[in-house]
């Protein structure tokens, strides 16, 4: 067992964990932040995507101790209080979700996409940037629309 400290959604947290603990397990089981999901065990579905020091990471493929001292943001931390993040708003506005299971990972990936690629994203770029996120419900059509609109809205 070892102590791990990091900042999650702006709050300093410390816990003692088994070195095997994955970041996603730490978030879900220790911090009860269950918005981050696990949809596969081969690091492909992207349901577990969170931001670590500002970059999108698959939290199922890193250990909690690898985030020692890092700033972690989960889906629970992207809204500004009551005010939703523009990307969250865009997913609702454009019906970019159905069962909701892949949604947190999609939104976290979409925000990261905008951070890396800018606010004017064409559909082709969005579709290829979604390589690491699987959705079985939407056929992606409305996710692409949502990200395109959310990206523009993030311009502020």
């Amino acid at each position: 067992m070892l102590p791990v400290s990091m900042t999650v959604n702006g709050k300093a947290v410390t816990a003692t964990v088994d070195p095997r603990t994955l970041l996603v397990q730490y978030l879900r089981d220790n911090l009860r932040l269950t918005g981050t999901h696990v949809g596969c065990d081969t690091s492909q579905c992207g349901a577990c995507v969170v931001h670590v020091d500002g970059a999108a990471r698959k939290s199922c493929t890193m250990f909690a101790w690898q985030a020692e001292g890092a700033k972690v943001t989960t889906i629970e931390g992207v809204a500004n209080g009551e005010k939703l993040h523009p990307m969250q708003e865009a997913f609702r506005e454009h019906h970019g979700l159905q069962c909701g299971y892949c949604t947190p990972g999609m939104i976290m990936s979409a925000i990261d996409m905008v951070n890396r690629k800018g606010n004017d994203l064409d559909d082709n770029t969005i579709r290829h940037e979604l390589e690491g996120n699987l959705c079985r419900c939407t056929g992606y059509h409305n996710i692409v629309k949502a990200i395109s609109a959310g990206a523009r809205a993030m311009k502020g």
């Binding site: 009860r32 065990d41 629970e76 019906h95 299971y101 692409v144």
Partner: protein, 787 residues
Amino acid sequence: MSATGIGAAVRRKEDQRFITGKGHYTDDVSRPGQTFAYFVRSPHAHAKLHSIDVKAAAAMPGILAVLTGQDLAGDKIGNLICGWMIHSKDGSPMKMAPHPALAATKVCYVGDPVAVVIAETLAQAKDAAEKIAVDYEVLSAVTDPAKAKSAAQIHDVAPKNTIYEWHLGDSKATDAALAAAKHITRIDLTNNRLVPNAMEPRAALAEYDSGTDSLTLWNTSQNPHVARLVISAFVGMAPEHKLRVIAPDVGGGFGSKIFIYPEEVVCLWAARRVGRPVKWTSDRSEAFLADAHGRDHVTHAEMAFDGDGKITALKVKTIANLGGYMSTFSSSVPTYLYATLLSGQYAIPNIYCEVDAVYTNTVPVDAYRGAGRPEATFVVERLVEVGARELGLDPAELRKRNFIKSFPHQTPVIMAYDAGDYLASLKKAMELADVKGFGRRKRDAARHGKLRGLGYSTYIEACGIAPSQAVGSLGAGVGLWESAEVRVNPTGSVEVLTGCHQHGQGHETTFAQLVSERLGISIDQVSIVHGDTDKVQFGMGTYGSRSGAVGMSAIVKALDKVEAKAKKIAAHVMEAAEGDIEFRDGKFTVAGTDKSMAFGEVALAAYVGHKFPTQEIEPGLKEGAFYDPTNFTFPAGCHICEIEIDQETGETEVVSWTAVDDFGTLINPMIVEGQVHGGIAQGVGQAMIEQTVYDKDGQLLSGSYMDYAMPRAHNFPAFKVDTTETKCPSNPLGIKGCGEAGAIAAPAAVMNAITDALGTEKIEMPATSMAVWRALQTMNRNQVAAE
């Protein structure tokens, strides 16, 4: 139309929790003192189970119990069942083999659970599982349904591994029509096996309360009441009133979460044995081995045409793989959900279909999005397209000549279509897809070295499952009505309890839209409650595109009763005759006067009970209803797909998709479109990339996302989706259902497009790059040989 009423593209009420990470799925639930279950699964597809040595495992740290099939039998826990009786041609009942939740004497597929470890932590359970020694005697296995009859017998009750040899239709008349045909189109098809892959893996959390001797199960179910019924009445776990099943937010189902699985039974049993809550959450790798798969048909079909290109007969022979055991509804899928749709959108006077269902050493096969209807559409729509090519007719023209044009229409395979306009959806789709411009696009593609093809699929499905008497006469063990309860609170807000279950469909919004429309209140004043057997009256759950047509119809009936009672109360309060009370836009008005009461005022009056005779009219405002449909509903439409093939690599791209569907009344067009999009993606996935491959020993070669290709965003273009409308006459809202259409229509459209581009019919699903390349190679060789 009000802003939140029927027909409005209302943004979903449930989204707030999903976009903020506040969804509440089964694995998000934790109970004090919970333990973890890990299943030991057979590594062999077919083996005798001689013994299991659990001693070393039981002594490992943190282990609370290691349980086997012998323990299960010792505790008299009953078998899982298939709830739909099918009889063979000779009148004999289907051969349902015992299906224990943990195998005790033999295993029938790779992944068949043989033991469970219950531990303080999941890691401890996994560590202990490695110490369990199982003595297997490996037997020869079969995975190919076409070879099942001649393979080693899997179950004592089923000689030749045959579950039933069923048929439907008039064999003699069909043969006579084939004999008299001007032209016969023959085709051999494989409807490829699929792994459902809802993004949320299955999970179960069971808790036993010794104080009340009752059990609670949280699970990933599309139909918690049916789960409770089966686990109580057949498995014998607990009396129905001592078992509560809660299916909270569920992350997609697509059929795979309808069924009653071994794991939830074992968790309940183990929770009682160890006296602590027991949680199991499937890994994705485990899901590939343990979730019921879909499709897996091998079919030969013949379609007869007369000299005018009219279809005169259809004869179909199908072998359906049901896997190692019969899953909950498996028997119905390749029979009454399949052969009854073989008339498609066409007036076909003679149809005969034979279906042999077989056991193989694969995970059970059951309903998956569309369930039987995609398989039927694939047969019919491939035949029609190939027939048109053979007859030298335009495929749209051939379809038009054969469309059913007057309703009701009785097909030769049970179904009586009630309403539709197939020409309208075909025409609209052809315009939207710019079929006229296809020749130009094909030439443009050729200039870039690409082969372009266009394929149609004019599908029909039977939804709104289902009239109870009808399905009862066909062998169903349950009725398929739906229930609803409308609870009006004193302040005028409303809770609707429904037996439907949402796992992506947006019922919390669409059902609220109905209430908003009828009661004239804001949808924010309406909550939809579902998925908990302690809260909701018995219900049948969500599958088969039934929630709108059946579930909402039940709500309509309950709302009718609410309105009737409220009118009585309003009449007393406003001192008017009941017959003079009109209800519109949320107001009860005395006809011809300016006297009126808002809905909320009547609700309060109902609960206060001061101003009406409570001996005659009971206080309160809460009504329940059960709605049993009088017919299936028949959504239908036309999908047009265009693809381009890279001739060098075989890589095939869907470049255009047009869907025009007739779903009857749309409650929320935004949600309907979303359902269509998702269905198309699953159908395209089936047609092009999703392949489930077992090797000859029964090992699943496509057992993870490293080998099972899941459709990704870049596999699709933007879809063009539109609708036409003929109302369904059999339910009060005119709804037909939209949940499965895309998955039903898409495979045939894709394969018709690919074969159009290739110029050969000799390619099976999934048409992977390699499969397309091989077809091209064969074409080229044949061409060279011809020259």
